[in-house]
């Protein structure tokens, strides 16, 4: 996983509520066998007309946001489908941090698995950040967002923070508990033998 420490960049404001993962990356791009290359399809139906031409009004087609590395979002961002293609598409576009009043649970987890930092801030703070001209700086060690003389602090679970800072391989970390897993499996075979598939 990519580590995350601090990030300074342009934040694109997409403040509508309940942006679902179908909107972030629609179905026709889910047949991919790899994680990369989805950035050009990010927000496909908002971003392109049916003929595939850019829609000039859409946020990410505006010159100042083409290189955005942060996204300011509305409440319940990433709801719906569990598709990890959504954070893959954001990451491939260049987004490393999403700031929103709230996130949907599965999407929130999927962000951490890909080195994307989801920052929860009150809606008023998000609205305030959306008015900032120029870059924002997100400082994970200090748990702050700074812009234009403004400094906001955010909360993050210590385990999540540590994993992001380190770019931790979660599977490797779990493998350190192998003895516990083996002990659990041995115990369960005795305590709940019916879990053996089709057992009698």
């Amino acid at each position: 996983m990519l580590p995350f420490t601090t990030l300074t960049g342009i934040a694109a404001p997409l403040l509508r509520a309940n942006v679902d993962t179908d909107l972030i990356i629609p179905k026709q791009f889910l047949t991919t066998l790899v994680r990369s290359g989805l950035g050009r399809h990010l927000f496909h139906e908002l971003r392109y007309d049916p003929a595939g031409r850019e829609l000039p009004g859409f946020l990410l087609n505006r010159e100042q946001y083409r290189k955005a590395t942060l996204l300011l979002a509305g409440p319940n961002f990433g709801c719906g489908s569990s598709r990890e293609h959504a954070p893959w598409a954001l990451l491939d576009f260049g987004i490393r941090c999403i700031l929103a009043p709230s996130f949907a649970d599965i999407f929130f987890n999927n962000c951490f698995a890909n080195g994307i930092l989801p920052v929860v801030l009150p809606a008023e703070a998000i609205a305030q950040l959306a008015t900032v001209q120029g870059p924002l700086t997100v400082d994970l060690p200090a748990q702050t967002v700074r812009a234009d003389g403004l400094t906001l602090t955010f909360q993050i679970e210590p385990a999540r923070k540590a994993a992001l800072l380190e770019g931790m391989d979660e599977i490797k970390r779990t493998e350190a508990s192998l003895a516990d897993i083996e002990a659990y499996e041995t115990r369960r075979r005795v305590e709940a033998p019916w879990l053996a598939i089709g057992g009698r």
């Binding site: 679902d20 889910l30 790899v34 987890n109 508990s177």
Partner: protein
Amino acid sequence: MSPRTLYGKIWDEHLVATRADGTSLIYIDRHLVHEVTSPQAFEGLVLAGRALRQPGNILSVADHNVPTMDREKGIADETCRLQVEALEANVKTHGVPYIPLLDDRQGIVHVVGPEQGFTLPGTTVVCGDSHTSTHGAFGALAFGIGTSEVEHVMATQTLPQRPSKNLRVRFEGALPPGTGAKDLALRLIGQIGTAGGTGCVIEYTGPAVRALSMEGRMTLCNMSIEGGARAGLIAPDDTTFAYVEGRPLAPKEALWDAAVAHWRTLASDPVAAFDQEVVVDLRDLAPQVTWGTSPQWVTDITGRVPDPAQARNAEERDAILRALDYMGLEPGTPMEAIDIQAVFIGSCTNGRIEDLREAAGVARGRKVAQGVRALVVPGSGLVKRQAEAEGLDRIFLEAGFEWRQPGCSMCLGMNEDRLEAGVRCASTSNRNFEGRQGRGSRTHLVNPAMAAAAAVAGHFTDVRRLEIH
């Protein structure tokens, strides 16, 4: 031991280790795998030189992008075909149980798992699919995960987790005639909103839930995610055990008896504390129809398209305006006056035998209205076979519905079953998001009988007024 909820009991039974940072490792008993969210997980394992810890605890099947017509001829779309072939190659390499595309047992993972007895009460069930919440109908802790987590489960048979909040939903009263599990789900989501269950595991309680069949319970739990909750639970009871008993992968004989004795202990203790409680009064429940682009935007069939001017604030007004614009609807329009051009009966929400029986009851002796294209897609090959044994396929075909092969189909349109822009669909699926059934498509979520009623009327209509055969 202090009183515990059903969720608390399953959590405790699956706790492998509590780590220094406060996260817990939870053991995963059952893992469902399909073609769309697994290739990168298999690839990741291979690249890291890791083996699958318990390949036998997986059940895999292709469902999302399989054709629902002329399947015997293969998959025409190349990217879809390659993805199904990748799954077939991966399961072969890694020794994972797989149900082939032309097997009668093939179908939507969330229909197949329960049907095969793979899903059991008191287990933990995951799948790279948000509608894994379906399996909570059995009193299993079942939730959708991303592909990185799919890889994590394959490698370790565990997931790092944080405890969710316990949310009890109490449905008060019985289901009124003409309504079903889908209406329970939609009414609840309308009440709490699409983020109302975020961070929670829902336990559904009340006499209406107890009275539901397993099919109905699966419909209700399926849509937990549409209310923001990763998982929904219903305590197992005799209805559950009667459904599971004798299924191919369920325990048999002495193990069955031992299992049932344990499963009876899983219900929430009477004084267990819930973090939140929601009460839904069913007295005035009518068939539900969504009007917007989020499942929370729902009303009674006797209702009207809302007026944005009556929104609580500017943000809500703008959101409703955008939804009405996308849906091509005028404020104040009676729901029954909205014409439809397409009907989809199927999906992991409403693609089971009971759903097809309800729809067929309306379709029998009637004709699909002119200009309406209506698809019936059974949730699995076994559902299809059962429906055909009951003559339901004849009823649908004679009425002018298309009778298809099983899969996810038009719920998300990964295969060729997609809607054209501007086409309005009465759908028994779970999501009415923008573009969900095809770019520019307009989805209204309804129960199966309501979908069939819309098909024959050509517009939404109150199924309670129709004679059911």
